[in-house]
Symmetry: C2
Subunit: 94 residues, 2 copies
C-alpha cells in the first residue's frame, strides 16, 4: 500500500531508488523491499519522504498506519468488530 504509493511518487517524479536510498541513508535493497511491501519503512522516514515528494506527511502516515494494521488483521468479522471497537474507543466518526 505505502510501497505502491511511494513507487508511484518516485517514478512520476523521475527518481531512481538510489536517490531515495541516499535521502533516507539506507540501502537500495531496502527501498526495493519497501516498495514491494516486503518491509515497512520506519516512521522517521515519512517526514523526509513527504518533503521530498511534496505531499503531506499526514497522507503517508495514514497509509503507513494502515499497513501496520493490515499486518495484524485479516478479512474477518473479528477484524470488522475490532475496527469498530477502536473507532468507538477514540470516538472517531462523528
Amino acid at each position: 500500500m505505502l510501497g505502491n504509493r511511494l513507487k508511484e511518487l518516485r517514478e512520476s517524479n523521475g527518481y531512481v531508488q538510489r536517490e531515495v536510498a541516499a535521502l533516507l541513508h539506507v540501502d537500495t535493497a531496502f527501498i526495493s523491499k519497501t516498495e514491494k511491501g516486503e518491509k515497512l519503512l520506519n516512521e522517521i522516514h515519512l517526514k523526509p519522504l513527504a518533503k521530498f515528494y511534496k505531499v503531506s506527511e499526514s497522507e503517508l502516515k495514514s497509509i503507513w498506519l494502515a499497513d501496520r494494521i493490515l499486518k495484524i488483521v485479516d478479512k474477518s468479522n473479528e477484524t470488522a468488530n475490532a475496527l469498530k471497537i477502536v473507532e468507538k474507543y477514540f470516538n472517531l466518526n462523528k
Copy 2:
C-alpha cells in the same frame, strides 16, 4: 479492554486469578498484568478462556485484536484515515 472484560468474567463467575493461571499454565502475575492491560495475552489463550467462561471465542478475539490495534494508533486523523483504508481494503462495511 480485553483485560477488563476478562476480569469481569472471572469475578462474575467467582474465580480467582490462580485458577485462570492454572487453566492457561501461566503465572498469576501474568494474569494480573493482562487484566490490567499491562500485557497482552497470547492468541492461543483465547479459546480456552472462551470455553472456561462460556462466551464466544469470536468476542474475545475481536477485543483482543482491538487491543493490538490500539497499541499502534492514537487519537488522530491519521488513525481515522488508516481505519478507513483498512475497511476499504477488505471492503468491510456494506
